[in-house]
């Protein structure tokens, strides 16, 4: 069966430090991959999605970037974190016609 792993679960980072959040999917091939963020008081917002290795689409301008070095690995990064980057980050995957999105457990990022 398919599973999605996302880590770490919580992270506290100082302003200006780098960030790397990793997400991996098991049990499926060539999934579509997504990064979402929920900032305080707001709904989940799509940040990036990828339909294949090296193919990244950004939905909103921001201080973050994403990469997909392998078929089932999706990484969210920042060179220098801002306070406004704090939030709850969710990785998700979907595959196949009409498939729903399946979400990871999420990472709670606090920038101090």
């Amino acid at each position: 069966s398919q599973t999605i792993h996302q880590w770490p679960a919580t992270l506290v980072q100082p302003v200006g430090s780098p960030l790397s959040l990793e997400c991996t999917v098991e049990g499926t091939s060539n999934p579509n991959l997504y990064w979402y963020r929920q900032a305080a008081g707001r709904g989940l917002q799509l940040l990036f999605y990828s339909v294949g290795i090296g193919q990244i689409s950004s939905e909103v301008p921001q201080n973050l970037s994403a990469s997909r070095p392998q078929d089932r690995q999706f990484i969210l990064s920042s060179k220098k974190l801002l306070l406004s980057d704090s939030g709850f980050y969710l990785c998700a995957w979907s595959v196949g016609q009409g498939s729903e999105a399946f979400f990871g457990q999420g990472t709670r990022l606090t920038v101090v």
């Binding site: 579509n32 709904g43 989940l44 917002q45 799509l46 969710l90 995957w93 979907s94 729903e100 457990q105």
Partner: protein, 113 residues
């Protein structure tokens, strides 16, 4: 631009009472709408989608294109229904997978015994 609005951030009902979680959307195309749920300490998961026209855990949701609404309803709420509920709109046309979503802000439902 597409938008999903859930006007109620918090909703409290007693066990056995009817519950309705409101969702309104704005979208110029033909919408594909979903309800996602997150129970305490669990992952966000799909509850139901309008194209399936099915009832899940006693919940139903009807797409009303005239009112641009997709309200979630259950005639008799149970304590185990307590959770965060998100309404979501797919940004992808039919024939693809539905991972690109616009979410509402979510409604926290609490069902009291």
């Amino acid at each position: 631009a597409q938008r999903v609005t859930q006007p109620e951030k918090l909703l409290s009902v007693f066990k056995g009472a009817p519950v309705e979680l409101k969702c309104n959307y704005s979208y110029s195309g033909s919408p594909e709408l979903f309800w996602y749920v997150q129970y305490s300490r669990q992952r966000l998961q799909l509850l139901l989608r309008h194209i399936s026209r099915e009832s899940i855990k006693g919940f139903t949701a009807d797409l009303n294109k005239g009112e641009t609404s997709f309200h979630l309803k259950k005639p008799f709420a149970q304590e185990e229904d307590s959770a965060m509920y998100y309404c979501a709109l797919s940004l992808e046309a039919g024939g693809t997978s539905y991972g690109k979503l616009t979410f509402g802000q979510g409604t926290i439902l609490t069902v009291h015994p």
